[in-house]
Amino acid sequence: MSDHPKIPAVSMRGITKRFGSVTANNHCSLDIQNGEILALLGENGSGKTTLMNMLAGLYYPDEGQIFLDGREVSINSPHDAFSLGIGMVHQHFKLVDVLTATENIILGIGEKGKLDLKAAAAKIRSICETYGFDLNPDQKIYDMSVSQKQTVEIVKVLYRGARILILDEPTAVLTPQETDRLFTIIHNMKDDGKAIVIITHKLNEVKRISDRVAILRKGECVGVYPTSEISIQEMTDRMVGHKVVLNIERPVPKTPPEQKIFIRNLTVVDEDGLTRLDHVSFYMNTSEILGVAGISGSGQKELLESIAGLQRVQSGSIEYKDDSGNLLELVGRDPLEIARLGITLSFVPEDRLGMGLVGDMDITDNIMLRSFRDGRSVFTNRRTPKKLAGKIVNDLDVKTPSLATPVRKLSGGNVQKVLVGREIASAPRVLLTAYAVRGLDINSAYQIYDLLNQQKERGVAVLYVGEDLDVLMALCDKIMVLAGGKLAGIVDPRVTTKEAIGLMMTGGAGKEEQKNG
């Protein structure tokens, strides 16, 4: 920090934005300096993205002023934002699948003259070299991984000459290694004098990368602090407004665990002939939360879908012990039949949408998707699902204008609460969840953990696929580690260490990379 006050790259003063009766931002003021990384921290629905969308030209503030380098500006469209040097990378990528990286990057730029893709590709390569991106300009988007698509998005805003970069939850979809690579690049951009805003709710990332952290709570700017002078506990307190106990409970079940599902030598081969699961054997107990740890894409999805009957199994068996002690083979059984046995699956995919919920239908209708088959008459019964919907909205604190709002209009975290809430409400015997807290703020995440613990106490066998090792260690009774589709081991989180699990996870990492490459 220099001695005399610098003119900030961006200065937002008294910004207010309302959507109908909901105030998304209430007199927010924020400065962003050149050559700094500012973390924007807040719970889901605290107005982080809305505030930044006003810089990106997607929304126009109802009140307040925006200054760039001390000059007041009016940003009416994304085009205005681009020409002012502001670029935002959204959570849901805006890319055209059938076009190449280059075509996507130059899309919409109103340059004169002939379309020269070669010159554009050369410019892209030089940007990649400057900041350390790994990108093939001629690759089509549909051939790319999530992390590569993100790279295209970032290069896209840099190509347009952005000097103020806003990244909306950039690490939500990345593996730890990809996150490391991204952070290196962000540091390079900072050294280049760019002003960078990272919207996030991962506290350790705030600590790791940012110079200053601005905290939002319910649409208001609570404060801006140098990251080095604020502890994680303090950040949490300011973010949620009241003290959150960071310890997750692991209650001892009242009934002793019994073996419920036996999986033997489960092998899954995908359409491309790649082995996704390789002779995996384990069993699941009642009254127990079995955690699944692993780098994303290590076979978690295939495992869950195999149990739920959605995946074609190459070989192996999945046996389920019903209440009277009979063993039932699940492989080859119809998914509906498996669901009737009380096995439910709630999978939150990387893009958080699309799995298990119908976007255009409201909360009640989505809950009916689970229960409508039970009805005996020709007509559906909406009363019970509606009551349940109201209960889920109440209990899980889902932020929605009404029960009749289509779920696609809810924010990501709220959509997830509806999904998990519905699965739990069906009183399952076996509960399979994957990434249930993906993208959720701390408060909502703890509500989900509580719900899982309640299920465990009810005697349900819970399978919890998670990303955060700290959470897995605190919540689960046992942790199964998957590495490249193989079972690396099952450990007791009470006696093992995070480092030990991390090592097991990467045991097959080299192989995984080979497959992708």
Binding site: L58, P78, F82, K94, L95, V96, V98, L99, G110
Partner: protein, 329 residues
């Protein structure tokens, strides 16, 4: 040999009608608008073009060839573009269902053309604009006299060559220009296009209206050259319109493929008339309709093939048939 040349000629005439139709429809569909109103738009274009030429021809003692061409083409394109504008307003601004709107436009176009056609027919069943037909059917001088080569390549009216040029220009536009890239983005993912500052509504309107104008030229060619400059109470323009829609899929939305695809369709369509005599057999009447079905069968086979291959580029614009709401992003 004579039969073979006659077959080729017939295929080229026929192909030219649907080439215009498909080229226009590709431009429209690239913006994400599935306009099933192609037959109706061809009707509008064909009738307006004919009426313009017919009234000019009969209203002056010494009609000029250049003016006939100009009037016929301008009237045809204007009427067709108007059809495209109606479609655009309903689907883009009012966000009506594209399929329903397109089908309605087909019925509307045929109805309007036949309604005003009564005025032109003036009580008869058909009228002919002979001078205009002669202008449109004039073959290329000198070259068309070069024996078989001249017969196969140079014996057509100017619109046959115009169709090929428009298809080639369209191909260049879509794949080699900035505006073409923007248009493709609008059809694939309007939200993405919108986020980078492309005016989605303007592109959709422009593509649909320009596309309709080109489609309308197919109608003009159908009446003025293919149909011998005759407007009658009964014509088969609608069938050709549907073939144009099928050809877009057959060509996997690429204008270069339209050029040969149109001639292939023409060859198949007229197969019943020429192949039997080439082979020295007689085709029973009931098989005629069956053989005319071949282009549709081929299109279905192509559809099966491209969906089995799962090649992203052959699937057609991803947002085809969907209205764009900005609030949904």
């Amino acid at each position: 040999m004579t039969t073979l040349i006659a077959w080729i000629n017939r295929a080229v005439w026929f192909g030219t009608v649907i080439m215009f139709g498909s080229t226009g429809e590709i431009i429209t569909e690239r913006s994400g608008n599935l306009n099933l109103g192609v037959p109706g738009i061809m009707f509008l274009g064909g009738f307006a073009g004919f009426a313009g030429a017919y009234y000019y021809e009969n209203g002056t003692s010494d009609p000029s060839a250049a003016l006939i061409i100009l009037i016929a083409m301008l009237c045809g394109m204007a009427a067709a573009a108007l059809g495209g504008l109606i479609y655009s307003f309903l689907t883009i601004t009012l966000r009506a269902n594209q399929n329903v709107t397109g089908l309605a436009l087909t019925i509307f176009g045929a109805g309007i053309a036949n309604f005003f056609g009564v005025q032109v027919l003036n009580g008869g069943t058909s009228v002919k604009a002979s001078t205009s037909h002669a202008v449109f059917a004039t073959p290329i001088p000198v070259l068309s006299g070069l024996g078989a080569i001249g017969q196969i390549f140079f014996s057509y009216g100017f619109m046959v060559y115009l169709a090929v040029i428009i298809a080639l220009v369209t191909n260049y536009f879509i794949y080699r220009t900035r505006k073409g890239l923007n248009l493709r983005a609008v059809g694939e993912s309007p939200a993405t296009a919108d986020s980078v500052g492309i005016n989605v509504t303007r592109y959709k309107y422009a593509a649909t209206c320009i596309g309709a104008a080109i489609t309308g030229l197919g109608g003009v060619y159908y009446v003025m050259d293919y149909g011998y400059g005759t407007w009658s109470t009964a014509n088969s323009i609608e069938g050709l319109g549907w073939l144009a829609v099928a050809l877009v899929i057959f060509a996997t939305w690429k204008p270069v493929n339209i050029i040969w695809g149109a001639y292939v369709f023409g060859t198949f369509f007229w197969l019943y008339n020429y192949l039997p005599s080439l082979l020295g057999i007689t085709l029973p009447n009931y098989l005629v309709q069956l053989t005319q079905m071949i282009p549709y069968v081929v299109t279905i086979l192509v559809l099966i093939y491209i969906s089995a291959k799962q090649k992203h580029e052959s699937q057609g614009p991803a947002a085809l048939g969907q209205s764009y709401f900005r609030e949904d992003r």
